[in-house]
Amino acid sequence: MSILVDNDSRVVVQGITGGEGKFHTRQMVEYGTNVVAGAVPGKGGQEVDGIPVYDTVDRAAREENADTSVVFVPPAFAADALFEALDAPLDLVVAITEGIPQQDMSKVYRKLRETDTQLVGPNCPGVITPGQAKLGILPGNIFESGNVGLVSRSGTLTYQVVDNLTKRGIGQTTAVGIGGDPIIGTDFVDALEMFENDPDTKAIAMCGEIGGEDEEEAASYIGEYMDTPVAGFIAGRTAPPGKRMGHAGAIVSGGGGTGTAESKIDALNDAGVPVGDTPEEVVNHIEGFL
């Protein structure tokens, strides 16, 4: 078992003819992902590595029975691409694009609330179910199939933790990069709920960071509803207030000081979630759970 993506996912890549889209489609296919179509306005009728390209997502979904989309569309056109994917409709949309204007995302989020589609991202590395399929830009070779679920706001930090897990012989059910933007589709609670309902996931590593209140909400969810053990990590303990640390969403507000690492760590500890001081410590906790 796994969450979000598996062998059966039929994937359409939006932006498949662009440099990134083409490169990562090839990587996804090599990993075993069932990419059935591409969608790029004006490029209908072309092929990329034998994958048919359609002008619209709607057409791609109908012709090829696609149920999932991965979005590599540049930021200026990404909101339009997301509206199109939500309208198709698809079950799952994974938005890799970084730098989508915030007000565009606010409108997409408004639309998302009216649909049954699960959006992951934007500004995320994607989703991978090791040994089955990957959606996005994650390096498949560091993952190993197993029974630990992973959810993270950061790409390379996810890789760091996964690398440590894999090197100790601990595999993963699914890893979900939820993205570093302030407005995202799938949040920690959504991902944790999916892992809780996945019988194969025996433990979960959750990597949060400063900014917003998602980790605090996740902590109360874990405390109230979850049986699967969770170990946490929070990046940005040393971040000064009022400065964005790379990710658009990674900011401790000035004055009131909300979104601090301390508040998140305290909330998680209160919910019985151990939080590692280093990525290695997170892996120690996970090992202890299994």
Partner: protein, 383 residues
């Protein structure tokens, strides 16, 4: 990221949109400031144009009644160091005789994914402190991004906040204009604190905060032009040029890495092992020689830096390619001014570590070891 406008820039935008602002002039010399004060008529406020909170308390704002005082104030403020920022310019502004100070603003509520309009009768003080100690004192009205602010929503926010009936209509109108501006200019935050109410019942925006979403600047060329003038720190301006996410901090261990979360973690580990991070620098995907050279140039330009830790997780970009980039970059320096510790992980990390030129860098296998070594080097160098 976002572009923060200076007060004078934001007030220019407000005035164009029809939000009442006091008469004002920008001055970069003492003589210009005095001339401006004479033109506007006393009393005037002389306000440092730097982007830090609490300018008044720090001596960056003075209220003056005549030319002599104006000269003295301008001499004090122009060239001063305000919370680490050099003051190059002042805004000379007609003082407003107010009876009341309000707060109005529009920002994004990230949890709801929706804009929120805010009104409070507790203006003129740090609103985040008000929010922390008495959240009820701020009236919040969420706005549906699909439809924008409806007039009733602006009235509701103003009445619920307890604004005097005599001025409520005008305040609601200012709020609607601010929302429109927020929407039209892809702002992430717009704030007037204080919005002053005069004895005659006029409303005047005495301060102005306006932050624009960097990711949307491509569709606002007029606002993008203001960016150079809005830049503060020289190194941060340089980072913009190179296209790095960079934040300068006060420590002495320089940090370069890829991916925001991993770079933040590297900072945290420097602190955890007893050192002090000098900066956050995310080099982004890949690590081509040119980007590595630029990143090292950035970090070495910071005179506080005593050592550097380079932490790269190779994902799709292979570790051996990264190592070649690092070698090439380091070989381009005549002399490497500070010790550099490199840690590579992920795809082809071992091949990468074999390639790295150990005459130029110290190689460590784990993140923890690399950080500890860089902290050690910084301590030695600082002595």
């Amino acid at each position: 990221m976002w572009m923060k406008l200076h007060e004078y820039q934001a007030k220019g935008v407000f005035a164009d949109a029809g939000v009442p602002v006091p008469d004002s002039k920008l001055a970069s010399t003492v003589d210009e400031a005095v001339d401006a004060a004479e033109d506007i008529g006393y009393p005037v406020a002389i306000k440092a144009q730097v982007q830090v909170g609490g300018r008044g308390k720090a001596g960056g704002i003075e209220l003056v009644d005549n030319a002599e005082e104006a000269r003295e104030a301008a001499e004090n403020i122009i060239g001063m160091d305000l919370k680490g920022l050099h003051v190059d310019r002042v805004l000379v502004e007609g003082a407003v005789d107010f009876v009341n100070e309000l707060y109005v603003g529009v920002t994004m509520d990230r949890n709801e994914g929706e804009p929120v309009a805010m009104v409070s009768t507790r203006g003129g003080v740090n609103i985040e402190e008000v929010a922390a100690e008495d959240p009820e004192a701020i009236e919040r009205e969420h706005i549906d991004p699909a439809f924008g602010m409806q007039p009733y929503e602006s009235r509701k926010a103003v009445y619920e906040a307890g604004v005097d009936r005599e001025v409520a209509g005008d305040v609601a109108s200012v709020l609607r204009t601010l929302f429109q501006l927020w929407d039209d200019s892809d702002a992430t935050e717009i704030e007037v604190n204080p919005l002053m109410i005069t004895a005659d019942g006029d409303v005047v925006a005495a301060d102005a905060v306006m932050n624009i979403d960097d990711d949307a600047l491509f569709r606002h060329p007029d606002l993008a032009e203001m960016e150079d003038e809005a830049a503060e720190d020289d190194l941060e301006a340089k980072a913009n040029e190179y296209g790095f996410d960079y934040v300068r901090l006060s420590g002495n261990v320089g940090i370069i890495g890829n991916g925001a979360g991993l770079v933040m973690t590297t900072l945290d580990l420097v602190d955890y092992y007893g050192g002090q991070p000098a900066n956050f620098l995310d080099i982004g995907g890949g690590a081509k020689a040119e980007r590595v050279t630029n990143a090292l140039d950035m970090v070495f330009s910071d005179e506080n830096v005593d050592s550097v830790v380079f932490n790269i997780f190779g994902g799709i970009t292979r570790g051996d390619e990264v190592a070649k980039g690092i070698n090439e970059a380091l070989e381009s320096f005549d002399e490497i001014p500070k010790k550099v510790v490199v840690r590579l992980a992920g795809t082809n990390a071992e091949e990468g570590m074999d390639i790295l030129n150990t005459d130029l860098v110290t190689v460590e296998v784990t993140l923890e070891e690399a950080v500890q070594r860089a902290v050690e080097y910084a301590e030695e160098e600082a002595q």
